[in-house]
Amino acid sequence: MRIFKKAIVYALLLGGSAVFLVPLLWMMSTGLKPLDQTMSMPPTWLPYREYVQEGSQLREVKAGETVPATATVVRKIAPRWENFSLAIAAMKYFPRYLLNTLILCLLTVTGTVLSSALAAYGFSRVEWCGRNRLFTVALATMMVPFPVVMVPVYCLFRSVGWIGTLKPLWVGSFCAGAFNVFLLRQFFMTIPKDLSEAARIDGCSEFRIFWQIVLPLCRPALMVVGLFQFMATWNDFLGPLIYLTEQKDYTLALGLQFFQSQHGGTEWHYLMAASTLIALPVIILFFFTQKTFIEGISMTGIKG
């Protein structure tokens, strides 16, 4: 009975994880195929090249060539790595997309971590009148859905002539979002008050206490906030869609969508190669920072 139950649990887990992995594997597999193999029936998982035996030599079968029935055909697994460079070339501004995305990631991560840490410190470790009332206001702002503020914020950026620049996509991150402030505040409150008191008695300024005592102790929480912001910026689609107008200013996400809207439905191998290029950094990052990810999410779920 015990073994039977165990077997069911493992069968479900293995089956389930296979189903969850298939789309990613299929993306990578398609990205390494030549065009004709992407549409072959039945589908093949591994990209291959076919060769015909001609005397003692193997000659590659060209796409669309009909091989006489008498010939021996040899199949060899052969991923088309060149699809990546071809997809990059087909996307035209790929290096620019990448650069724009990296600039935005750098700026938003810096801005978010710095400003939320400052605000969270002010909301947790300095006593001042009206602090808790203002924090309640901060929490309430989380209720406002993005579409409500979308149009006026767009008009605001338009009035200062920032549409078509990267500015609207990062300036806001220097203004401490309520969610991150909330998260860091939770963490700051766990640090004993005596630590700051002792430093204050020694004549340490509030900013130095923040910078040299509290921040170093909060590195794990800052990592979580920074990592989540990186992911949010890397993945963001709606923001760039609203604010960017010139193709060379696009981010990777918007650039890929633009590429798809022009070549969609035909060049699946390039589309999947490009998707792999955008998804892979996230996957790699996840494997290196798995613990931070899992802890961060558990933290938001349980304390939220």
Binding site: F20, M41, P42, G122, A138, C155, E206, F237, L256, G301
Partner: protein, 295 residues
């Protein structure tokens, strides 16, 4: 106010000043402006013109608006409960004493991290009617005429619901963390009382993790009513017969394609009210079921 109090007020305000600037510029002002615009005819290029409640009245007779609302509620009505059951089931399986738990957890979690543009591309390809992997699989198990998914108005919403289930890893991680926090002693005493596996789950696990279920439910309501990116990327302006024109997509089109900013703002406020209403309903109806240990 003493000098010390004034000093700490200054210091405190200085620390929270980034938030205050952001609050005024990106929340307070936009909320007021959005409310005002919703009573105006506004195309960005010319000054807004006050038209009273016309935008709201127009909504009542705009059949596309109602269709987008129906599509969104359809999506939410299936993706929220299905996602909840699925993420909780995976979490419960992983909470058993299994080998390689962290590897399984990583696999189930990973898809939720994939950038929405990339995952939209993947699903466009998998759901392709002629060459898609899903239809290959369906044909191989004997379904001769599988649906055309994204090309068939009857199947666009199920397609997006299916795709949303691929991203349940985030909720699964939250559930798993909650499950691991349930005190062992509770299960032990349930065992002593002769409780079976199901009644242990029903009477110990579920009540103990109910706050987290409630949290995920609310997040699900907020998120699925605003679903935008994947629908916009995969089906543009709503797909065949606008069958996947979601509320947020129609709102976006009004704002940035048709340049009807006033109408878009009015729609946003109606969306806010719908979210508040559904959150209130969810809170009311689960109040007796959610258990907080601290109380």
């Amino acid at each position: 106010m003493t000098r010390g109090e004034r000093h700490s007020l200054m210091v405190g305000l200085l620390f929270v000043s980034p938030w205050i600037v952001g609050f005024v510029a990106f929340t307070l002002y936009p909320v007021i402006a959005s409310m005002t615009y919703s009573f105006c005819d506004y195309d960005v290029l010319t000054k807004p013109v006050w038209i009273g409640t016309l935008n709201y009245r127009e909504m009542l007779t705009d059949s596309v608006f109602w269709q987008s609302l129906r599509n969104t509620l359809y999506f939410a009505a299936f993706s929220i409960p299905l996602g909840l059951v699925m993420s909780l089931s995976v979490a419960v399986l992983l909470n058993q004493s299994v080998r390689g738990r962290s590897a399984f957890r990583a696999i189930f979690f990973l898809p939720s991290l994939i950038p929405v543009v990339a995952s939209s591309m993947i699903w466009l390809w998998i759901l392709n009617g002629n060459f898609g992997l899903l239809n290959h699989a369906l044909k191989s198990i004997g379904i001769a005429h599988p649906p055309q998914w994204l090309a068939d108005p009857a199947w666009t919403k199920p397609s997006l619901i299916l795709m949303s289930l691929w991203g349940v890893g985030h909720a699964m991680v939250i559930y798993l963390a909650a499950l691991q926090d349930v005190p062992r002693s509770l299960y032990e005493s349930a065992d002593l009382d002769g409780a079976g596996a199901w009644s242990r789950f029903r009477h110990v696990t579920l009540p103990m993790i109910s706050p987290v279920i409630y949290f995920n439910l609310i997040m699900g309501i907020i998120g699925s009513l605003q679903v935008f990116s994947q629908a916009f990327i995969m089906l543009g302006g709503g797909g065949p017969q606008r069958s996947a024109l979601f509320y947020a997509v129609y709102l976006y089109l009004n704002a940035f394609e048709y340049r009807q900013m006033g109408y878009a703002c009015a729609m946003a406020w109606v969306l806010f009210l719908i979210i508040l209403f559904l959150t209130w309903v969810a809170t009311r109806s689960t109040r007796k079921l959610v258990y907080y240990a601290a109380e």
